[in-house]
């Protein structure tokens, strides 16, 4: 329908012409959430268009390794949705929206079974059901998995469903702006750039589902791919949507540290799930100090902080890391259970993990915060704008459990698709104002007109270095202020960026837009981090080292007011008493006492 062709037209950098197309539901991002949303919206009869920055099937979901968390109770019959709910809320340090967590925990098993019916081939139990492995801070063995390639299987399975249905998609296409009807304020369209040609496209639509993933690329050390530049956050914010809990950035405990070219690359938590042990340079199993009960399989925020502390206090390796050891599992089992890890170390670092220890250090992995949504429908405060997956906020609170992201994208991808397909039924197509459109075209083409603008690559590097230095695992007022100041300077420089060459497949142009988005994300992250004057989950303040339930059981909202970014503090929605009882189980209280 919209296939790219090799006889591409070359667009003059200054060419402001555009094509127009239309649909009911525009889905931005084709990872797990976007594709699941597309399937639902399409099946419910909405005219659906799926758009993504990369080739179809390459989204960051492929990087997910460990598994999908769902209380199927195939291995541990005691497990059920209530305990999954409770684990999610407790480890999210009680910032999660209870209703979102309830929907999530109840529907995750159905979504996993659906994936099996779609053709995903999960590992099996002895009696032939879907296998489940233990994972950090899950009370029971709960992660359904496909070796250590769960995300790849998920994305390929959904991609097959998208192709089978012939759902219209445009890959290598970037959305730059959300248009709203000037009279109603509801979503009316979006501007897109076809990356392969540089062509501009106005997509008129009634609803938009943002499923754009996270913003890990704002940090220097991250497991995230090039796409993770927080585009959805920026699109939503500029459209007037509210963001929430932006300070909550997950550092995955185990990233590769060596060689330099692969620093930050993820080492799946499944290594620890399968029995991997963390030790410091002195050979001590340091997790015994920090969480004696759960040890290496403690929550990610706890393990990351523990590794950070060991390294800071001089017990790290010469490369500034700690060791992760899986050798005791035996070569055969390592290759069977962790094949990707085996090859990843062999091919990227020349290390045989069946014979040598891995060196690991925390790497930026996931954004718990994001666009504020209504639990049941994933709708934002802007009519017709929905969000699902990593870009949305409300499930993971202050710390995401491993495996919860894959069930998150399936559960809320489907719900967003469903809600959007309902929404469009009684919604007329809104207007796209001519001045909005021409203004946006001018904005995005500006880097081609600049003669002395900054190099977007340099600015990206400056952003990443600033965030890593001042807004890392352990934060304080002075550093955060410095970070904000530096990001402010970068923001000024980003007003004049320069892209060179033609528009097709132009990395400097793509990075110019990424810089604009990243600067906005960073400002929201830092301002929210400054607002939260306590330590909770992934947000650790050395100047406020204690968790302060009396004052900070709140969500921090970021939004625009009179053109300025402001933060507002709202109490976490109170859950019904019967759910309160679920999260105050005795065993959880006992753990909490031990965890430092």
């Amino acid at each position: 329908m919209w296939s790219t062709t090799s006889s591409q037209k070359q667009f003059d950098p200054a060419d402001e012409s555009y094509e127009t197309t239309s649909c009911d539901v525009l889905i931005v991002g084709a990872g797990g959430a976007g594709m699941r949303a597309a399937i639902e919206s399409f099946d419910k009869g909405a005219k659906t268009l799926l758009v993504c920055k990369s080739l179809l099937g390459k989204a960051h979901t492929v990087m997910a390794e460990g598994g999908i968390a769902a209380a199927l109770a195939n291995i541990d019959p005691q497990d059920n949705w209530k305990i999954h709910f409770s684990d999610t809320i407790v480890e999210g340090q009680q910032l999660s929206n209870w209703r979102i967590a309830e929907i999530f925990a109840k529907e995750a098993p159905e979504r996993v079974m659906e994936l099996e019916y779609y053709g995903a081939l999960f590992d099996r139990t002895e009696d032939g059901k879907i296998m489940q492995r233990p994972f950090g801070a899950h009370s029971y063995r709960r992660l359904c998995y496909i070796g250590d390639r769960t995300g790849l299987e998920l994305i390929r399975t959904l991609e097959d469903q998208v192709l089978k249905r012939n759902i219209p998609y445009m890959d290598e296409t970037e959305i730059t702006w959300i248009f709203k009807d000037p009279a109603t304020g509801a979503v009316s369209g979006a501007l897109a750039i076809k990356i392969t040609t540089g062509e501009l496209l106005l997509i008129k639509c009634k609803a938009i589902i943002l499923a754009t993933g996270g913003c890990g690329k704002v940090y220097a050390v991250t497991s995230n791919s090039w796409e993770s530049t927080g585009d959805g956050i920026a699109l939503a914010y500029r459209a007037g949507a509210e963001l929430m809990d932006m300070e909550m950035i997950q550092f995955h405990p185990t990233g590769m540290i060596y060689p330099a070219g692969v620093r930050g690359m993820l080492i799946t938590e499944a290594v620890r799930g399968e029995g991997g042990i963390l030790t410091n340079a002195k050979g001590e199993r340091f997790m015994e100090k920090y969480d004696p009960k759960r040890l290496d399989l403690s929550a990610r925020d706890v393990v990351s902080r523990s590794i950070y502390t060991e390294i800071q206090e001089g017990r790290g390796t010469p490369n500034g890391a700690v060791y992760l050891d899986i050798r005791h599992l035996g070569a055969e089992r390592i290759k069977e259970k962790l094949p990707s890890m085996y090859y990843q170390f062999l091919e990227f670092a020349g290390i045989d993990i069946t014979k040598q220890k891995m060196e690991v250090a925390p790497t930026v992995h996931y954004q718990m915060g994001g666009i504020r949504v209504v639990p049941d429908t994933c709708e934002t405060n802007i009519h017709g704008l929905f969000a699902a997956g990593e870009v949305a906020c409300g499930l993971h609170g202050g710390n995401r459990l491993g495996g919860n992201s894959l069930s998150d994208i399936l559960v809320f991808g489907r719900r967003a698709g469903l809600a959007a397909s309902e929404y469009i039924k009684n919604t007329p197509q809104g207007e796209v104002a001519g001045q909005d459109l021409s203004g946006e075209i001018k904005r995005i083409l500006a880097p081609f007109k600049s003669l002395n603008g900054a190099n977007p690559f340099d600015l990206k590097d400056r952003i990443a270095a600033t965030m890593w230095k001042y807004v890392g695992i352990v934060r304080n007022e002075i550093d955060l202020r410095k970070g904000l100041e530096e990001i402010g300077l970068i923001k000024l420089d980003s007003k004049n960026l320069q892209a060179k060459g033609a528009r097709a497949f132009n990395q400097s142009w793509a990075d110019s837009m990424a810089v604009w988005n990243m600067v906005l994300d960073c400002e929201a992250i830092i301002r929210s981090a400054l607002t939260r004057k306590e330590s909770r989950g992934a947000h650790t303040r050395s100047d406020y080292p204690k968790k302060d339930d009396a004052n900070w059981m709140v969500n921090i909202i970021t939004k625009q007011k009179d053109g300025q970014m402001i933060q507002e503090v709202v109490p976490v929605p109170k859950m019904p008493p019967e759910y309160e009882a679920l999260i105050n189980r005795e065993e959880i209280l006992a753990w909490k006492k031990n965890v430092k």
Binding site: L55, H60, G119, L152, S225, N455, P456, F505
Partner: protein, 252 residues
Amino acid sequence: MEKSGNQRKQVTLRIFRGLGSDRSKDRYEVFNVPYEDGMVVLNAVHYIQSHFDSSLSARWNCKAGRCGSCSAEINGFPRLMCKTPVAMFGGEITVEPMRAFPLLRDLVTDVQDNYEIAKNIPAFTPKESTDHTWIFFQRDVEKSREFRKCIECFLCQDICHVVREHKADYIGPRFVVKAASLDMHPMDSLNRSSFMKNSAGLGYCNITKCCQEVCPEHIIITDNAIIPEKERVVDRNYDPLVWIYRKITGKS
């Protein structure tokens, strides 16, 4: 860019530049990039984009060997740029786009045809089952599992001489692997052998095994996917016992 006081080594890359719409402008450009430990070809390409020529086009995404976006021909051999250490080569490194696909720009090719091929392969169709829970075992999973490692980098399509010469007739190794992954799914109910014989052009493959040499996921494409798929076609279409059985029973 000259060596500084600390004597940094440098790497020389010879990079293809060109436009799909005007092949008369094809050329190669040489860049010298400072070396750093563990550097892969994709790092060098990024260095060129950020320091020398931001208009150099290259497709990439995860930079971790997981997504299969950064396929190219490196010193003539199909590889992922993100998984190819520059240290594995002695002298100048030549980086070119995949040859089997139409050129878009510089290192980027048009791989959309692959998605059209994928659409034509009869999709996973589960056996009739009223059970909510499907029961099958790890041993049933293993056969198909190998093929599901595929990251769709299309390097096997690129090296396949049949794809290069008979593109319209043969779906290529990636898609034989895909068909095999479905055929060997324990719950799949379809028989794809007539599709493989008549539409997929499986007979064109003459088992030179080039595809399995380039697979970054180490899938034994020819031995484990193509040959068994060929055997299925033969069993179904040319086995005299099966032919007699079908004649007598009338079953297909």
